[in-house]
């Protein structure tokens, strides 16, 4: 497998900005991403969305070009300019045909370094977000995911939606975005990741041409790395949506940070629990045996600070309590009795066998390089990735499941019709009824 791993080249500029690149031969494509290693976790309290709105605002005009002109120029190359914040980082990306590499690199530099922050665009952005967030209220899956996040983390940095919250939209203003930009967009916390059909020396040449002098602002906020002091109390919560025919169900407790030494054993244990599709215990029980749902998944959100561990599913409302009970039973079983040798071997061979598929496209390679840089995994991470997975013993996987799964600490949120599911839920324990959206 090692022979398939593309080498990552790295160049450090005196300003602290880093270039990481991979030469990619499969199709004449190039993916260029500017990653600022601060994201939605830096949004001020009550001002959800500042990091993400700032990212989008960079695409709404530069010192030289209007929104329309910029969009015309980019799209006339068939390229796609995208900008978004996530927790832990903000990404401004330009992808297009490799033949257009010089102009794409120049354009991305212009967008990041010389945003116009045109005042007239702010009310338009505000109205677009209001429309988008209002529309999301009609999607029960979105409602459940967003409400669970807020319920679980409260005011903590991972507790609000990245794209903003409807309730606090009107508190945001352009000054929030410009001050965020001036503070967080600093060369010392920024990396460029370039994957495409362009030789590394040419990439370096263009990066030096367009980025060497850029220092940006700063000092950037301190990296957020600690678990919040308070979380929601474990238990059952219900948001009544009488018009729904199914219940959306979210369960979760606090997970681990990305740098935790149990990352690999826990990833494997969780594949067996609920991330491995039809190979997972949750899918086998809730879907294949009982036919209660179309899909169920568990996931550890590994971030710089501990992210949540979540289980996501839905079921016809009449089955709600039974599904919650069954899920907890499966989690308890994996926590108490561990996984089998065959399950572990299958999980390991899945990840090892699946690894080459992540090398097919420039975008999937770029995503891996971005994660390597963001979480300081080391430039040789991909070279040793399969070894590390294969080195996990049955005891290590069992221990990880035992240590990091906490069925008694699960916060359970149901978004569904109370008249069909409340009584059954009450048989499981006290239910807190939530108000609002």
């Amino acid at each position: 497998m090692t022979g398939q791993v593309p080498p990552i080249y790295q160049v450090g500029l005196p300003t602290g900005l880093r270039l990481l690149g991979v030469e990619y031969e499969r199709v004449p494509w190039i993916s260029i991403t500017c990653m600022v290693k601060r994201g939605a976790e830096t949004d001020p309290a009550g001002r959800a969305g500042v990091a993400d709105w700032t990212a989008e605002f960079l695409t709404l005009g530069t010192a030289k070009r209007s929104q329309r002109q910029l969009a015309d120029d980019v799209e006339s190359l068939g390229a796609v300019l995208s900008a978004r914040a996530e927790y832990d980082a903000t990404y401004i990306s330009l992808e297009g045909l490799a033949e257009d590499f010089p102009v794409l690199m120049a354009t991305l530099a212009e967008v990041v370094q010389t945003p116009g922050f045109p005042e007239q665009e702010f009310p338009l952005l505000l109205e677009r977000r209001r429309a988008e967030l209002t529309q999301l209220l009609d999607d029960p899956r979105e409602v459940a995911t967003r409400r669970f996040r807020r319920l679980f983390f409260g005011e903590a940095p991972y507790g609000h939606a990245v794209r903003g919250e409807l309730e606090s939209l009107d508190t945001l203003n352009l000054a929030d975005l410009t001050s965020h930009y001036r503070r967080e967009f600093a060369s010392g916390v920024t990396s460029l990741v370039v994957v495409g059909m362009v030789p590394g020396n040419r990439v370096e040449e263009e990066v030096r041409r367009y980025w060497e002098a850029w220092q940006g602002g700063g000092p950037a906020s301190s990296a957020y790395t600690t678990a919040p002091p308070r979380l929601a109390a474990p238990g059952l919560y219900l948001l009544d949506r009488p018009e729904l025919t199914q219940s959306e169900i979210r369960l979760g407790h606090l997970g681990l940070p990305r740098h935790h030494p149990d990352f690999f054993p826990l990833r494997l244990a969780n594949y067996i629990l609920g991330e491995g599709g039809f190979s997972s215990r949750l899918m086998a029980r809730i879907r294949s045996d009982l036919g209660y749902t179309y899909g169920i998944r568990s996931r550890f959100h590994f971030r710089r600070a501990p992210g949540p561990f979540t289980i996501t599913t839905f079921t016809p409302a009449e089955n709600t309590a039974e599904v919650v009970r069954e899920i907890k039973g499966v989690v308890r079983d994996v926590r108490d009795n561990g996984v089998t040798a065959q399950e572990l071997a299958d999980a390991q061979s899945y990840y090892v066998g699946h690894f080459p598929q992540g090398l097919e496209t420039a975008r999937t390679i770029a995503q891996q390089v971005l994660a390597i840089d963001l979480y300081d995994l080391g430039l040789d991470y991909l070279l040793h990735y399969c070894e590390k997975l294969q080195a996990v013993t049955l005891e290590a996987a069992r221990q990880a499941a035992h240590t990091h799964l906490h069925p008694e600490a699960l916060v359970t949120l149901v978004v569904g019709p109370a008249h069909k599911c409340l009584k059954g839920l009450e048989d499981l324990g006290a239910v807190t009824i939530l108000e609002g959206n």
């Binding site: 031969e25 199709v27 799209e75 006339s76 068939g78 490799a98 033949e99 190979s279 294949s288 016809p316």
Partner: protein, 442 residues
Amino acid sequence: MTLPAALDPSTWNPALNIVSYRLDNGLTLMVLPDQSVPVVSLQMHYHVGSRNELPGITGISHLFEHLMFRGTEELGPEEFARLLQAKGGEINAFTTKDHTSYFENLPSEHLELALRLEADRLSHLKLDDENFQTEREVVISERKLRSVDSPFGLVEEQLYSTAFTQHPYSWPVIGWDQDLRRMTLTDCLAYYRTYYHPGNLTVVIAGDVVPESARDLVDRYFGNLSSPGSPVFPKITEPPQRGERRAVFKKVSQVETLVAGFHTVGLDHPDIYPLTLLSVILSVGKASRLYQEFVRSGRVADLEAYLAPPPWSSQDPDLFVFRAVAAPGTDLARLEVDVWDSLERLRKDGVEKSELARAKKILKAQTIQGLAKNFFRGLLVGLFHMKTGDAQRVNHILDFYEAVTQDDLVRVARQYLREDNRTVVTLKPVSAIESEALGPLA
């Protein structure tokens, strides 16, 4: 500067090498060799979708797709997926109006295992009542997810059932709720015998494989299977629409929405290319017409003009769909007038040369980007073959787009995007109490 050949875009050849075989039992095999990454995409395309269904058993194609994972004489439920996932495989399937496709993207060393298991479930599927009942419940849950509780699922179903009066595109791929509940195991057995055999199957293998070896493997596992020949299904043509149709759908919603559809053409018709370019000009990207006129200002939460591009376009004539989600405070009736006015300007004045050039470049870039994936390459070839009988079109797709002129765009806009050919469904928000009074959603 001289570039290494592998990193010189000008030396890249986009043509796919397609090696085709046909077994004696009618099975078609298409191999797309590419040794650059040690993976293959194995795709089993059965030429049956919701267009082959009948009233009363709508949704059977999709339900049957689920049953294909429920085990064989040799394997237990879902063991098919588990065995191949354990080899690193990405396993899934999807059902459309025109076909049902199963795929395994996996390390090339496990291709033989995947073929053996695919042949096993084609010939020895375990169709019993327990599996059927369990999977029916799963599909009913999926229908609630995708249609009943989703923001616009039932509204879009209403659009198709209003626009199509005779053609099977009038019902959703997932089927009507009462048909899913009414269907029997006997229906599924009859369906299996009619449509699941080598004569109705196209196998595509894209990736790290030698064509002759692939043919030998397919022959080893599928060559002995019998086939009654290609199924015969009557060609159903939707009569021309002779006047606008309108419907209202009331449900609990935060936003007012309209979906509208214009009857157009199927994949085999040359107008599919200008129509696809038109959809790009209208709503792909932030320089597009509809984005600039309606989305940028926040007047709509979403506005899309969509026609699935080749080869994802439907086999028979389908709808060119507009979906407009009004922002809070936007008057939907006024919005609709303005959207059709915008379309009228296009029909009257045509498009700018730069708009057409932009659309062509976007489609070229999307195609080239997609060609990085064996899965995408395989789909391009398999879908063109099944729906048009001509897989080689994949190697001319960019030429077809390039040949389109500004006049072509005006012509198709005038021919298809006209009021008499239009069906409009509006979503009217009601309270939960009003919704309940209207009866159950299904």
